[in-house]
Amino acid sequence: MALLREEGWDGPIHLHGAMEKLTDLYKREGIPLGETRKVVAAERKDLAGAIVICPPSSIQDVWSRKFPDPVTCFASGWMRVRARARQKGVELPLVISDHADWPDLCRTIRETGAGEVWVTHGQEDALVHWCGSVGIRAKPLHLLGYGDDGEAEPVAAGTEEAA
């Protein structure tokens, strides 16, 4: 939302109910997100040309089908992979993520000076291999409950722009 404001969108941003609490929290902490409105189910048909933000699970849900001719947009680091974007029926993939990318992850590991790295989740084999190649001991923890699926990414937010 802050990025939309930076790009000059000064109209209201419409929110799925699930986005409300977190948005309010950000606002209370002094982050300027501009005017936000909760989507009223009966008014979805009137939101042509509006920007609507919802959680990823609502994108393919009945909820999002009531908007007039929506452009399905998905903001996530996963959107760099075309097959992932197509799988989700995304028309406007936005590569935005607050996860560390590969070069940052590798740099951070070096900066910590860690002698041994335990990898909780993600592409463990790649990171363990990289650690080995620069002389750092590493092992995967194989924790339960961490998938590498898009759904497990807690910050992925779906955006819908009804054109």
Partner: protein, 287 residues
């Protein structure tokens, strides 16, 4: 090349036909010759050049990236061109702020196609690496799709021709009628649709004429309302229609290889083997 790549990227995500048409029209209107002509060639499958094998691409990457990490990334992303485009350590991107003056500018599509058409096999890896260094991520992806012969555009050749025709208010059929005498970069075609030159003449004595799109007549009343002298009619049986001289279907695709019997008796030039554009199997071929 970057501009063409971004067009392909947008087309790939765009499900609406009319929106695709707009994207294509905008591109053809703003892009100069011969760049747009080669783009049209790429979208209609009419470019020919030496293609690069996947092993060559893999070799180029593995000279720059840990082969194990590359293999893991390839497994994860699932597509060689896309993985390479993402993982390629490009100097151009690191120098986006304008620090690097030594970087060559990104190649145009015309430069890529013209170079590939004349390049010797041993020089191919060098050219590719230089281009990959200069292009952005989407540009690298499109280049690799193009050179490995895997370019999936997400638009039919017919739609691309419709967009070209629309530049000068012509129907796709009008483009189709002159199409088979032309070659990339189609300068005479663009000059004609933009009103800068006469319609390109075809020297083919039996040029392709697209069969008509069929419209069912449901009611007896409809038939009575028609004035016969205002129409020409064409018989339509089940299956696909083919122009016997030249053996092309309604979209101008060579179909001789799929239906060899009529093609053998055809007096026209021997049809070359081409993929049919339709998935529907022909039960009969009406000629």
């Amino acid at each position: 090349m970057n501009d063409f790549a971004h067009l392909l990227d947008r087309l790939g995500y765009e499900p609406r036909r009319n929106a695709k048409l707009r994207l294509l029209q905008d591109y053809f209107a703003r892009t100069p010759d011969p760049e747009r002509g080669y783009a049209l060639g790429a979208m209609t499958g009419s470019l020919s050049f030496r293609e690069a094998k996947p092993a060559l691409i893999r070799g180029l990457v593995e000279a720059r990236i840990d082969p194990v990490l590359f293999r893991l990334s390839h497994n994860y992303v699932g597509d060689l061109a896309e993985t390479t485009a993402l993982i390629w350590p490009a100097p151009a991107e690191a120098n986006e702020a304008g620090i690097g003056h030594n970087n060559p500018p990104p190649p145009s599509l015309a430069e890529v196609v013209e170079t590939l058409a004349t390049t010797a096999k041993k020089d191919l890896p060098g050219h590719l690496a230089t281009w990959l260094d200069a292009l952005d991520e989407t540009g690298r992806w499109a280049l690799l799709k193009l050179v490995t012969g895997n370019l999936r555009v997400g638009v039919s050749a017919r739609l691309a021709k419709t967009a070209v025709g629309a530049l000068g208010g012509h129907e796709a059929d009008a483009v189709e009628e002159v199409w088979h005498g032309l070659e990339p970069p189609f300068a005479s075609l663009f000059a004609w649709v933009e009103g800068r030159a006469e319609r390109p003449e075809t020297l083919n004595p039996a040029p392709f004429r697209p069969p008509m799109l069929s419209h069912p007549i449901e009611e007896r009343d409809d038939l009575d309302k028609l004035e016969p002298e205002a129409f020409s009619a064409e018989w339509k049986w089940d299956g696909i229609r083919v122009q016997l001289v030249g053996g092309r279907d309604r979209e101008g695709v060579q179909v001789g290889a799929s239906i060899p019997a009529p093609a053998r008796t055809s007096p026209g030039p021997s049809p070359t083997s081409r993929r049919r554009s339709r998935s529907k199997a022909p039960s009969t071929a009406s000629c």
